[in-house]
């Protein structure tokens, strides 16, 4: 198939250096927590990181990190260690990595100093069933308490859902005060909440800038931004400031007509799991040789951002509570604002609507095709993907699916994926050619 020559100017991302520094700084802070007398919370994932700020805690993530996933052979060993103890491929893929790390003695290991960091408690916002079961196993293995805050997103009564969520946050505070033997610092909670929401809004604004043709960023870049959210550090000032910096740079790229991919011809969404191991870049870069660039997904925008979506399916950034005259001054205000963000403005949590939301996003971001990755080890991201593919195809947008694994490399058939993409992009090209000739 023909490749495409450059169409747009491009330039490297300036924020990358800052991002790497920030990651190192977070890792240093995490591993020195005990020396600095700080509690360590195992968490991250969906949000409510402001609670970590309220207890001045450092966070060790439950999700796999680059340290674990860098070496594919090691990743396979981690999986094998979990499997040897009965946790097979149907269990949450990320859990298997973390369990494997427990069993092989590398969980929380500071390799530079050869010391282990043990969390004091687990605190998580639950957005999928595998998380609760995973944290149960972590808590048992580590012998520490487990606090779950669940998003009640399907209730018939939004008011009751909000009340329930807020009550769970209050209960989490009570439990944390008992477990950690320190009081909740409401000022830090408020500050942490404002930062967490600021980041969600920045993330949404960055995502909206991705509507530009050519797109200023690739999905790969968006994913690396989301990593801070999964890492559980959106309550930090340096992270919130970093997102502001990124937003400014992306705005500038749009204003200068800078593309993430110099030959952007087809715009793609990638829904479902992405590899945590080092194949992420290969998966996302492969279509670029044909001028096809992954620019986003409902998963990426929906988990990290704060959106309002109108009846025509147009996405816009949700207003911050302080923009609506609702200041965040107390614990109650903080939980109210977090409830609002997680329940009302997080598209990912609207499970029964995910297919329609994927379609509206695909249209709004002027996407040519959607690629959906089915992961046996991730029910949360895989559920509903076939229905989404049907809805998207019925609306006239091309969609295709492939099987993969986010954490078990042998289950990803790279050649098969490449072959699929070769033919998928060929169909996009044929269709575009046909519509251009009709237009002439």
């Amino acid at each position: 198939m023909q490749t495409v020559t450059d169409k747009y100017p491009t330039r490297p991302l300036e924020y990358f250096t800052k991002m790497k520094e920030l990651r190192r700084s977070i890792a240093r802070d995490t591993f020195s927590a005990k020396e600095r007398g700080k509690p360590v919370i195992m968490g991250g994932e969906g949000g409510v990181h402001a609670l970590y700020a309220a207890f001045d805690a450092e966070v060790i993530p439950a999700m796999p990190t680059g340290r674990d996933m860098r070496d594919i052979n090691w990743v396979i060993k981690l999986n094998q260690a979990a499997e040897d103890r009965g946790y097979g491929k149907d269990c949450c893929a990320t859990l298997r990595i973390a369990l494997g790390a427990h069993f092989l003695g590398t969980f929380g290991l500071d390799k530079t100093r050869g010391k282990h960091l043990s969390p004091d408690v687990i605190v998580n916002l639950i957005i999928c069933q595998g998380q609760i079961k995973s944290h149960q196993l972590h808590a048992e293995y580590l012998g520490i308490p487990n606090i779950n805050i669940e998003l009640p997103f399907f209730t018939h009564s939004p008011e009751l859902a909000k009340k329930n969520f807020i009550n769970q946050c209050h209960q989490a505070v009570e439990k944390l005060e008992r477990v950690l033997g320190r009081k909740c610092d409401d000022e830090k909670l408020v500050e942490g909440t404002k930062r967490e929401l600021r980041i969600r809004i920045s993330m949404a604004k960055i995502a909206l800038l991705q509507k530009t043709i050519p797109a200023p960023l690739k999905l790969r870049h968006m994913s690396s931004l989301m990593a801070f959210q999964l890492r559980g550090v959106t309550h930090r000032k340096d992270v919130a400031d970093f997102y502001d910096l990124v937003l400014e740079e992306v705005k500038q790229r749009v204003s200068d007509g800078i593309a993430a991919c110099e030959n952007e011809e087809f715009r793609l969404f990638h829904e479902g799991s992405l590899p945590w191991y080092t194949k992420l870049g290969d998966v996302l870069r492969y279509p670029e040789r044909y001028g096809a660039v992954y620019i986003g997904s409902l998963n990426n925008f929906g988990i990290g951002g704060c959106f309002i979506i109108d009846e025509q399916g147009c996405w816009d950034v949700a207003p911050a509570s302080w923009e609506m005259g609702q200041g965040i001054k107390s614990r109650e205000d903080a939980f109210e604002a977090l409830a609002e963000a997680c329940l009302n403005y997080s598209p990912f949590s609207r499970l029964f609507m995910r297919s329609e939301l994927r379609l509206s996003a695909a249209k709004d971001w002027k996407v040519d095709g959607v690629v959906l990755a089915l992961d046996r080890g991730c029910v949360g991201l895989t559920s509903g993907l076939y229905e989404s593919a049907l809805v998207i195809k019925e609306a006239g947008i091309r969609a295709t699916c492939y099987e993969t694994s986010s954490t078990y490399p042998p289950d990803f058939d790279e050649k098969g994926y490449q072959g699929l993409m070769d033919s998928f992009i060929e169909t996009l090209r044929t269709r575009k050619g046909a519509s251009n000739s009709h237009a002439r």
Binding site: Q171, V379, Y386
Partner: protein, 368 residues
């Protein structure tokens, strides 16, 4: 051998279609508040696995999702449950929810209802589920032009509670060594309960108990417990019976988890009592997310009380909830000296393979 439960269970579609008034409502999970549905004049029927190839569901649910959720959707698409007026699902496993969503999207003519139940059954769970139950009542009254009053609810609760007491009595009898009850009789009783009118089922269970009390003690077989999720399958139990195993107890959502707890203190606010019962009942793996766990000690307790020698951990292929719990259950049972076999069931069941595995395990017990 008491065959009536098994016969009715096998003919469950005909039974439902002959239900007076024709109001039949399907339930995808044992967490559906059946008492409320029954009080509204419906026959609640649990959707059972059809145990046939599920390829018709392929465009909607990937093959890496559990065979049970694919099976239910396949039956819906094939029109096997064409007589259902409604379908209700209480949130349990995400894979089952996705089957419910596909059913909503692709199976015409069914009024669907969804009730949210938190996965964390902590403080506040009852309040939120009670609100869902109250809303469900309003929906039923509006959609079907019925008035569900307190007396209707109390009558339904009493019928269900009686059913639970009667079936527990049968399970008590199965504790005897050797048991007078075959595995097929025991399990078909609970399966039939989930597809029959409770009052009629109560009558049959009373008749069954009477027969059992006059029955001579059975032969000594290997005492078996089934743990997990059987998709409503009887073949496995029949196979065990034929090989000298005797299922004396289970911890499955088609067995004991369906009926074990009664509804208490229902006279003041029956809906609250119903909501409480479903929140506080023995959890399935999805709802058992806290520490300490509830399932493992309960299973161990059952195994001791029933003098279990062999435990079959059964679950549909690609079922993640059971995959999280099984290592802990296996370890606890092995420590107790109980033989354990894990079976991921795919349908149609590969009976030959199963026979070999089960036979080998039973023989190893015989010669131990």
């Amino acid at each position: 051998m008491y065959n009536k439960f098994s016969e009715i269970f096998q003919a469950r579609h005909e039974y439902a279609q002959s239900y007076p008034g024709g109001r039949v409502m399907g339930c995808m999970c044992t967490l559906a508040p059946e008492e409320l549905i029954y009080a509204a004049g419906f026959l609640p029927v649990r959707l059972m696995g059809g145990h046939q190839p599920q390829t018709i569901a392929d465009p909607y649910i990937p093959a890496i999702f559990c065979s049970y959720c694919r099976d239910l959707l396949a039956q819906g698409l094939q029109g096997r449950y064409h007589y259902l007026k409604g379908l209700v699902h209480t949130n349990s496993c995400e894979k089952l929810r996705s089957a419910f969503e596909s059913w909503q999207r692709h199976v015409a003519g069914v009024q669907t209802y969804f009730l949210w139940m938190p996965q964390v059954l902590d403080h506040g769970a009852t309040e939120i589920f009670l609100s869902e139950v109250r809303y469900f009542k309003e929906q039923l009254e509006r959609d079907w032009q019925v008035n569900i009053n307190t007396e209707d609810l109390m009558r339904a609760i009493e019928a269900y509670n009686e059913n639970r007491r009667l079936m527990k009595r049968v399970y008590e009898l199965a504790r005897e060594v050797p048991s007078r009850i075959s595995g097929e009789e025991l399990m078909s009783m609970v399966l039939a309960s989930q597809v029959m009118d409770k009052k009629e089922h109560n009558q049959l269970v009373r008749e069954f108990i009477k027969e059992l009390e006059g029955r001579e003690q059975g032969e000594q077989g290997v005492r078996v417990m089934i743990v997990g999720q059987t998709s409503g399958d009887l073949q496995l139990v029949q196979l065990l019976d034929s090989l000298g195993g005797n299922v004396v107890v289970d911890e499955t959502c088609f067995g004991i988890r369906y009926f074990f707890e009664e509804i208490d203190d229902y006279k003041e606010d029956p809906l609250e009592a119903i909501a409480n019962r479903y929140i506080k009942r023995l959890p399935c793996p999805i709802k058992d997310g806290d520490i300490p766990r509830k399932r493992v000690p309960f299973i161990l307790d059952l195994a001791r009380k029933y003098q279990v020698q062999f435990a079959l951990l059964v679950y549909p292929t690609f079922c993640d909830p059971h995959s999280y719990d099984n290592p802990a259950i296996r370890e606890a049972l092995l420590k107790e000296g109980i033989k354990v076999l894990e079976l991921a069931e795919d349908f149609p069941l590969p009976i030959g393979q199963l026979r070999t595995r089960i036979e080998a395990t039973l023989e190893s017990l015989e010669f131990a």
